[in-house]
C-alpha cells in the first residue's frame, strides 16, 4: 500500500536528512522505525504526508505518487493518513471532543466545522472512540486539564476518526512514563490491528519495538541499515544502527524490556 523509492531530503542550509530510502509497507503491517536521534526518522514519516517536502524520490500511496500531488489532491490523500505526535499536538484551549472531531476537518466544510456542526455519524464515532480509550467522562473537558497519557489517548482518537488506511506515529511514548507508555503502545497496536491499518511507529524504546510490532526497520544517517521481523535484534544489529555500546542488558532475555523502561 505504501512504496517509498529513493527518497531523499536535503534541508536548505541544513543536513542531508535522507539519502535514498527504499521502504515498502503492506496492508495491515505494523512497522517500528528505530535509530539514533538525527537519523531522519521524523523527516521520513513527515515526507509521507508531505508535512516536509521531499527533495527527490517517489512515495507511492495506493499506487499514487504523493510527491506529485497538487494542493487539493494532497488534502484528499492526507485524509487517509492519520498522525500521532510525541507531544500529543492537542489544541489546549479546545475541549477533548473538539480535538477529536478536528480529525474530520478534511471531510467537513468550513462553515460546518467553524460552527462545530459535525455529521451525526462523526459525533457518534467520536464518542465511541473516546469510550473505547476510557475517556468517556472527559468529553467536554478542556484538553489542557488532562494528564499526558490521557492527552495521547485523545490524539489517538483524533487520528482514528479520520478513518485512515495508514497511521504515522512519531515517538508516541517519548513524553510518557514507562507504565503509561506501555499502555499507550498496547492501545495503539490493538486499535491498529482491530481496524487492519498499516502503521509506522518511530520509537526510541527498542524493547517496545520488539514487543509490539511485527517488523523493525533501523535508520542511520538517512539510510535504512536494518530491516527484519520483530524479535531478531541482537547486540550486533544494535551496534549497526546506533553505534558501539554495551548492549548486554537490552538483549539478555526476559527482563530486557524492564531495563529499557528504566533508562527511558
Amino acid at each position: 500500500m505504501l512504496e517509498i523509492r529513493k527518497l531523499t531530503k536535503k534541508y536548505t542550509a541544513g543536513p542531508q536528512a535522507l539519502k535514498g530510502v527504499d521502504l515498502s509497507i503492506k496492508e495491515g503491517e505494523i512497522v517500528a522505525l528505530i535509530g539514533p536521534s538525527g537519523a531522519g526518522k521524523s523527516t521520513l514519516i513527515r515526507c509521507i504526508n508531505r508535512l516536509v517536502e521531499p527533495t527527490s524520490g517517489e512515495i507511492l500511496f495506493h499506487g499514487v505518487d504523493v510527491c506529485k500531488l497538487g494542493a487539493r489532491a494532497l488534502r484528499e490523500t492526507r485524509k487517509k493518513i492519520g498522525m500521532i505526535f510525541q507531544e500529543y499536538a492537542l489544541v489546549d484551549r479546545l475541549s477533548v471532543m473538539e480535538n477529536v472531531l478536528s480529525g474530520r476537518l478534511g471531510s467537513v466544510g468550513f462553515w460546518a466545522s467553524a460552527r462545530r456542526k459535525f455529521p451525526q455519524e462523526d459525533v457518534e464515532e467520536a464518542l465511541f472512540l473516546l469510550e473505547r480509550v476510557g475517556l468517556a467522562d472527559y468529553v467536554d473537558t478542556r484538553a489542557d486539564q488532562l494528564s499526558g497519557g490521557q492527552r495521547q489517548r485523545v490524539g489517538i482518537c483524533r487520528a482514528l476518526l479520520q478513518r485512515p488506511d495508514l497511521l504515522l506515529i512519531d515517538e508516541p511514548t517519548a513524553s510518557l512514563d514507562p507504565k503509561t507508555g506501555r499502555q499507550i503502545m498496547r492501545l495503539i497496536t490493538e486499535l491498529v490491528r482491530e481496524r487492519n491499518l498499516a502503521a509506522i511507529i518511530n520509537i526510541h524504546e527498542v524493547g517496545f519495538a520488539e514487543m509490539f510490532t511485527q517488523r523493525v526497520v533501523g535508520l542511520k544517517d538517512g539510510l535504512i541499515v536494518y530491516d527484519q521481523p520483530a524479535g531478531k535484534l541482537d547486540a550486533d544489529s544494535l551496534t549497526l544502527i546506533y553505534g558501539e555500546e554495551d548492549w548486554t542488558s537490552l538483549t539478555s532475555g526476559a527482563d530486557a524490556d524492564d531495563d529499557s523502561e528504566e533508562v527511558s
Partner: protein
C-alpha cells in the same frame, strides 16, 4: 602545567566589557565632551528661564482654578468625539488588521505573503501617531475623520505585530496535526491557531482601545479632532482656566479607561 608552590593564591576578576583601558577611558572622555557640547548648543539663557518661570506660575495658577462651565458644551462634545473616534477606530482596526495578523505570521503563510505583510507592517509602525495625524489632516482636512484614520492605522500596526508574534510562538506540532487531517488553511486557522491566540488577542484589543483614547487627546492638538482639538483652542486663546479643566477631564477619563481595561483583561486569562 603542574601547579607550583610559588603561586599559592589564584585570583580572578570579571573580564571587562571593553578590554583595552585606553579605549575605555577615551570613550568616557568623549561622552562627557559631547554632553558639554550639547548643553552649549541649547543656548540656555537665564533671562528667558526667569521669564518662563513667571509665565509658568501664572499658567499653573489658572490651572488650579479650572473653569468647567465657560466652555462646557465644547468640552462635552470633545469628549464624546474622542470616545466615538476610539470605538470606531478600534473596531475598524480589528477588522482591517486580521489579514495582516495572519499574513505576518511566518509559520502559517507562504514566504511572499509574509514578506509583503511585514513590509506593510513596518511602514504602519514606523509612522508615529502624531506624524500619521498630520499626514491625514493634510489629506482630508481638520476634524475627527483624520483622527479616526490615524487611530485605525495605528491600531492595525499594533495588533498585527503583537498577535503575529503570538501566532509564531504557538506549538508547531498542533499546526502539523491540523494539516495532517487534510484540513484547509482556513480550517487550520480556526481550529489550530485561533483558540491558541484568542484570549491574548481580546486582551490586546481592549488595551489598544484604552491607548487609542489617550492618543485621541494628543492628535487633536495637530487638528485631528476630539478633546485634543478643544484643548488646543483653549490654549491658543490663553484660556488657561478652561485648559486646566480639560486636562483634568482627560486625566479622569484616561484613568477610568485604564482601570476598566485592566479589570477586563484580568478576567480573560
Amino acid at each position: 602545567m603542574t601547579p607550583t608552590n610559588t603561586q599559592p593564591v589564584r585570583t580572578w576578576s570579571k573580564p571587562r566589557w571593553i578590554k583595552s583601558p585606553l579605549l575605555r577611558y577615551l570613550l568616557f572622555a568623549l561622552i562627557i565632551l559631547y554632553v558639554v557640547y550639547g548643553i552649549r548648543a541649547f543656548e540656555i539663557n537665564p533671562e528667558r528661564i526667569a521669564l518662563g518661570l513667571s509665565r509658568a506660575g501664572k499658567m499653573f495658577g489658572s490651572f488650579l482654578r479650572p473653569d468647567f462651565l465657560a466652555r462646557k458644551n465644547y468640552i462635552i462634545q470633545g469628549i464624546l468625539e474622542s470616545m466615538a473616534m476610539t470605538v470606531v477606530a478600534t473596531l475598524a482596526g480589528v477588522v482591517l488588521s486580521l489579514p495582516l495578523v495572519f499574513g505576518a505570521a511566518k509559520n502559517i503563510v507562504p514566504r511572499p505573503v509574509y514578506l509583503l505583510s511585514r513590509l506593510i507592517l513596518v511602514i504602519f509602525r514606523s509612522l508615529h501617531v502624531v506624524v500619521l495625524a498630520i499626514l491625514f489632516v493634510i489629506m482630508f482636512g481638520f476634524g475627527p475623520f483624520a483622527g479616526v484614520l490615524t487611530l485605525t492605522v495605528n491600531t492595525m500596526g499594533f495588533l498585527a505585530k503583537l498577535v503575529a508574534e503570538e501566532i509564531e510562538n504557538i506549538n508547531e506540532e498542533t499546526l502539523e496535526a491540523m494539516r495532517s487531517t487534510g484540513a484547509s488553511w482556513l480550517q487550520m486557522v480556526v481550529y489550530g491557531v485561533w483558540p491558541q491566540i484568542s484570549a491574548r488577542f481580546t486582551g490586546l484589543v481592549i488595551y489598544r482601545a484604552d491607548q487609542s483614547f489617550r492618543q485621541s487627546t494628543v492628535i487633536g492638538l495637530v487638528g485631528a479632532g476630539g478633546i485634543g482639538a478643544v484643548l488646543e483652542t483653549a490654549m491658543g486663546r490663553y484660556d488657561y482656566r478652561t485648559a486646566g479643566a480639560i486636562l483634568l477631564v482627560i486625566i479622569i477619563f484616561v484613568l477610568l479607561g485604564e482601570y476598566g481595561s485592566s479589570a477586563i483583561r484580568r478576567r480573560l486569562v
